[in-house]
Amino acid sequence: MLHAMSFDEIVANDMVILGSAETVANAILRLSGQLDLMGLAMIFKLGAMPYDMVERSMTAFGEEVVPRIRHLLDRDSAAERTVAAPALHTR
């Protein structure tokens, strides 16, 4: 699908989410409103993006985007991490 789109179309359709922290947060909030998401699977390395750009972008995401979308996230996830898996059904 991406291949059929121009760069402008890709960005306009939130296929690649880029911009300031506020813009990125708003795009994620928009997606979350449009879809019943269990999760967002993010790729921070755009192609062979230089490592320091990846790290800056990830750090900004943590510091400036996560607080803006915090109400979407289950930050009290410590309990979840220790929850037992569901029963594997016997044959």
Partner: protein, 311 residues
Amino acid sequence: MLADTPRPRGRAGKAIDGTRRAQNHGAAGRGALSLEPRKDKTVRLAIWSTTTPRENSTHAEMFRRQLEEVELAERIGIDQIWFFEHHLQPTAPMPSPNLLIAAASRTTRHIRFSSMVNILPFRHPLLVAEEAAMLDNLTGGRLDMGLGRGLRPPEFAAFGVDQQQSREMFLEAFDIIQRVWADENFVHHGKYWTVRKEAPLSPPLVQHPHPPFLVSAQSEESLRWAAEHDIPFAQIDATVEQARCDQAFYREVQTAHGHAPVRRLYLMREIYVGDSDVCARAEAHALSAAVLGIVEPLYAVHPRRKAARQL
């Protein structure tokens, strides 16, 4: 990924729950714990960590930086890290996501890991189940199990596996993995694999009864199979409209098979946070050919995506 998938043999009407949360819900919740369901609108944050070589840098350095990114991901509050599996692909040199999970398990404490995916037609299912058990121990129960049947024809050629058989191989392997994880003793003489398990799974799993499953599903056949089993699914380059449509289809099948209509969609998106919209856009535009380069090799061969492009 699974073409024309029938209900898996011997599994009709039985749920193989996709996550550790599913126990609350519906017919699958036999013997359920009294866990509170997730709040309605909580969204998990996963990073699909790509392995991308750079010019003027070694592959050793590439892996070192990728592992550092995993540590950074944990610090910024990411819930899950996923690693691809590719074979003989110079632009994505990652033949074993399991090895990277093992390495990353040593420098992290909370973040969960998944192969996305272990390609079942290329791996003996007993080894898949046993390696997962090792990773479940190494990560302290932080393993999710991403499974797939493979996509790229050159990889099937490389392994000498007939891609036309990948669906059958996946289903047979999936069945074996569950039996190994259930620590059942059994002898399996299948079409593709023979397994004689007459001793305990060693090491045993940490998560009980097993690590949660994940799949990457784009086609109707794959979606149906995932929904029948209530397994969470990731979509790589779906538009909102496609994803909404697929989500509705998934839910229809999910509920028809006795599962509660819980959210199972992970949507993949590439993200870049810059100083401003203008800066981010300019910087990303310079990389946009490479952006397309990530996704295209993965889905260039996918029938539905091909059809979409022709429209």
